[in-house]
């Protein structure tokens, strides 16, 4: 049986979907079979970030309703063998499915994939309950901002109440310059406050917007940007490898990377 991991945060806009798309791709590139599941019924976006929006025929909803087979709904990513997407329905809302149906569906996926990554919708209502129903592990994404951390803490309580005890923290959108200047909470501050083991720290990275525009996960880049490298490290940690956390200063772009970007924009 594969690992069923929900990627959740409470607050919206902290990077759940981007992380799901890139972490799924990174794990697949490590040779694992991965299914990424969009659990955001009514507001689906995972297909867009993976650049698979034109290939969606059926969704999880039709599978649950018995209108198609699971294999028919799964969209295989041609750039990344081993990676499949189970899209959410865009037309219906979050009450179209219930937790028990989701649990059965995830169990089925776990039978044929090493990893099932579930992209959880924001909030703690029905959509959240559906998304966590089949999961046995959680990756909690937050940014170093008070509102995001507060919501994350609330989610920890709900996950534990639902029997998901393996919860690991990812601090996203760090700005090393601001942390150094004492103007942003550092990763250790967030870890201390939430008391959850850390599995990743990802810097704010302009490449995220560029890769989203193109529908191309940034971990596929020939020269992965700082955020892409950070996500690749998370994938290796999930695989059980001990990967050191880089120092704050090493998390962002190096001087040479900055220089290269500057030159490629301004000169060529």
């Amino acid at each position: 049986m594969g690992r069923v991991i929900v990627i959740t945060s409470g607050k919206g806009g902290v990077g759940k979907t981007t992380l799901t798309a890139n972490l799924g791709t990174a794990l697949a590139r490590l040779g694992r079979s991965v299914a990424v599941v969009d659990a955001d019924f009514g507001l689906r976006n995972l297909d867009l970030l993976l650049g698979l929006e034109n290939r969606v025929v059926y969704t999880a909803l039709e599978v649950i309703a018995g209108e198609c087979r699971l294999e028919q709904a799964l969209v295989k990513d041609k750039r990344t063998p081993n990676l499949s997407l189970l899209p959410a329905a865009q037309t219906r809302n979050k009450t179209a499915v219930n937790p028990e149906q989701m649990r059965q569906l995830m169990e089925k996926l776990a039978g044929s994939y090493d990893y099932v990554l579930i992209d959880c919708p924001a909030g703690i209502e029905q959509g959240f309950r559906n998304a966590i129903a089949g999961a046995t592990e959680a990756l909690l994404v937050t940014t170093p901002e008070v509102a995001a951390v507060r919501d994350a803490d609330r989610v920890v309580g709900l996950l534990e109440a639902a029997g998901i005890s393996s919860i690991q923290l990812i601090v996203n959108r760090l700005r090393p310059d601001m942390v150094t200047a004492g103007q942003m909470m550092a990763v250790e501050d967030v870890v201390e406050v939430l008391a959850i083991p850390l599995v990743g720290m990802i810097p704010e990275d302009r490449e995220v917007i560029v890769s989203t525009n193109k529908g191309e996960p940034m971990v596929l880049a020939a020269r992965p940007s700082p955020a892409a490298q950070a996500i690749q490290r998370i994938a290796r940690r999930l695989e059980g490898e001990v990967v050191e956390f880089p120092k704050l200063a090493g998390l962002g772009e190096s001087f040479w990377e900055k220089a290269r970007r500057f030159l490629s924009q301004k000169v060529f």
């Binding site: 951390v149 004492g182 103007q183 550092a186 201390e192 406050v193 008391a195």
Partner: protein
């Protein structure tokens, strides 16, 4: 631009917003986790003050009474500065050592 650059070169003292964010979070998370209504907290505060005041005279100026988080535990922090110990206290605690009868 120049100011930002200087800020980075010479980080500000721990009074920066980083520390503020952390302290505010510790406070709000403790209250979220405890799920204790403000009214319940206030009534607890009054009762505790009542008990303590029987023994010592408190300085209401620097008094603190709030919840905070330390790791995964929530703690009630009560800082009650004592102005002076009431003479009655010694008598109540140890009847054999009483100086004056009632």
């Amino acid at each position: 631009m120049l100011l930002e650059f200087l800020d980075q070169l010479f980080p500000r003292s721990p009074g920066g917003s980083r520390e503020q964010a952390k302290q505010r979070l510790k406070f709000i998370l403790a209250h979220d986790r405890a799920n204790l209504s403000p009214a319940a907290l206030e009534s607890m505060r009054l009762e505790i003050l009542g008990v303590v005041s029987r023994y010592v005279e408190l300085d209401s100026e620097g008094m603190q009474f709030h919840l905070t988080v330390e790791g995964s535990t929530t703690a009630l922090i009560a800082n009650l500065p004592i102005r002076r110990v009431k003479p009655l206290a010694a008598a109540e605690l140890d009847p054999s050592a009483k100086g004056q009868p009632d």
